[in-house]
């Protein structure tokens, strides 16, 4: 990958990434993390920063369809990849059935873990549209909710999967 050095000798690199269907070309330093690219460069602040060490999952995004911690992915490593953030889950101004279900089931307390929870659940339902409760719990096991609202979160994902959502 070609580096562009400025007058001070600071190297920057061009990264091409698709976020929620839109193509972006951004010039970043090597140490820019994907979460910072999303939040600071393209102003998608729905992706939250929590522990920043890969434990809490609040920065979860889908990278080529798979949930990853955006705090542990270099922006440069996402070059050429397809990223979905919480902003890309609703389509045509309509909430996704998962989002609707989280609201209906009071699965949101402080809301900080919600974007990550939704994306982990979204990846699960795409792969496995009718998960069992243990499968739902396994899918969100990398997302911590410190309000400890897990019961309603699991209920919301199960309800979205079974179609019991009043969209």
């Amino acid at each position: 990958m070609q580096a562009i050095a400025d007058k001070q000798g600071v190297k920057r690199y061009l990264v091409d990434v698709t976020v929620n269907g839109d193509d972006y070309s951004v010039v970043v330093k090597a140490n820019t993390l994907l979460v910072n690219l999303l939040r600071d460069e393209i102003d998608l602040t729905g992706t939250k920063k929590g522990c920043e060490l890969g434990d809490c999952g609040s920065c979860t995004v889908l990278l080529d369809g798979k949930p990853v911690d955006a705090c542990l992915v270099l922006a440069l490593e996402a070059d050429g990849c397809d990223v979905i953030t919480i902003e890309g889950v609703a389509q045509h101004g309509e909430l996704d059935k998962l989002q609707r279900s989280f609201a209906d089931n009071a699965a949101i307390q402080c809301g900080y873990c919600t974007p990550g929870m939704i994306l982990s659940a979204k990846a699960l339902l795409t792969r496995n549209p009718k998960p069992t409760e243990p499968e739902v719990r396994a899918a969100i096991s990398g997302n911590l909710c410190r309000c400890t609202g897990y019961v309603n979160i699991v209920k919301a994902v199960m309800a979205a999967a079974s179609g019991e959502v009043t969209a």
Partner: protein, 290 residues
């Protein structure tokens, strides 16, 4: 938390990657999934001058069965890729299960088997089962390729035989074998995202009820994963029974030297070794590769 500055390279071939690492010197590090090195860099425990990304070496992500050789796992295969691989599940479901017990879903989508081995954390989940199954690893460097048995790969916590100047782990081979069962069981403080307090892997070759061969590998109880050869000797050539496996468990305790830390005391770990060795042997004997 921000990362220190470094240069970034993404070579297109293995030869280019090793040449780059030689040219940049030992302060440059290869980057696979990044789930360990980026955390170390954020915590100020590593500050490489450059990261050489291996993401374009797509041939190292391959998992395949080679008749006569065995299961070949590319070093850049992610943990979830290993967990979900039909080839892995068909031959050694135990490896797929061990990969599933590691970290959490997001980390498993990025972290690689090669990174897990090279980081050489004593509590890592993959080394015990791979060592029990007699795996070897291949490294490619400026002077060509070499292969070592995984049991002699680790030299201490965070230390392994890989040369810091230009050597890259390329593949892990689990040889075609006559073992009839294997398993890895782990005691963690939670189901997800927990390091092993103790992890025990076993592989056995059964002849009816007689244990012809056994390999027992203990994780998180010494500087490196330990092959409990004494414990295996206790049971080899004998008809299995719960008492015999308990005896193997007691012997295995003598093969390890655990530390006390926030996850458990050394005494507690020793007792876990006894119980988990017994359980892991019974599982491999009665349930096959699980």
């Amino acid at each position: 938390m921000y990362l220190p500055d470094f240069d970034y390279y993404a070579p297109e071939s293995l030869a280019e990657a090793t040449a780059l690492l030689v040219e940049l010197g030992p302060a440059a590090k290869p980057l696979a999934g990044g789930t360990d090195i980026l955390v170390k860099m954020k915590n100020g425990l590593a500050s490489p001058s450059a990261l050489v990304s291996l993401k374009n070496l797509t041939e190292l992500r391959d998992i395949r069965w080679e008749p006569g050789r065995g299961l070949v796992i590319g070093a850049l295969a992610t943990h979830n890729q290993i967990r979900d691989s039909e080839v892995v599940q068909q031959h050694f479901l135990s490896i797929s299960q061990a990969a599933h017990q590691l970290a959490n879903n997001q980390i498993r989508n990025r972290g690689t088997i090669g990174g897990n081995l090279v980081n050489a954390i004593p509590s890592a989940d993959l080394p015990p089962i791979l060592i029990a199954l007699g795996a070897s690893v291949t490294m490619v460097g400026p002077d060509g390729a070499r292969t070592v048995p995984l049991e002699s790969f680790f030299t201490g916590p965070s230390c392994c035989v890989i040369e810091p100047e230009g050597e890259i782990l390329t593949e892990i081979v689990i040889p075609e074998q006559d073992t009839t069962g294997s398993t890895y069981i782990k005691f963690g403080l939670r189901k997800s995202g927990a390091l092993a307090v103790v992890g025990v892997a076993t592989a056995v070759t059964m002849d009816g009820d007689v244990i012809r061969k056994a390999r027992i590998c203990l994780g998180a109880v010494y500087k490196v994963p330990v092959l409990a050869e004494e414990a295996a000797k206790v049971i080899e050539g004998k008809t299995w029974s719960d008492e015999l496996l308990e005896q193997a468990g007691r012997t295995a305790v003598g093969c390890c030297l655990p530390i006390s830390d926030i996850r458990g005391s050394d005494e507690y770990r020793r007792d876990l070794v006894r119980v988990f060795t017994r359980r892991a042997l019974k599982r491999a004997i009665t349930q096959g590769h699980v």
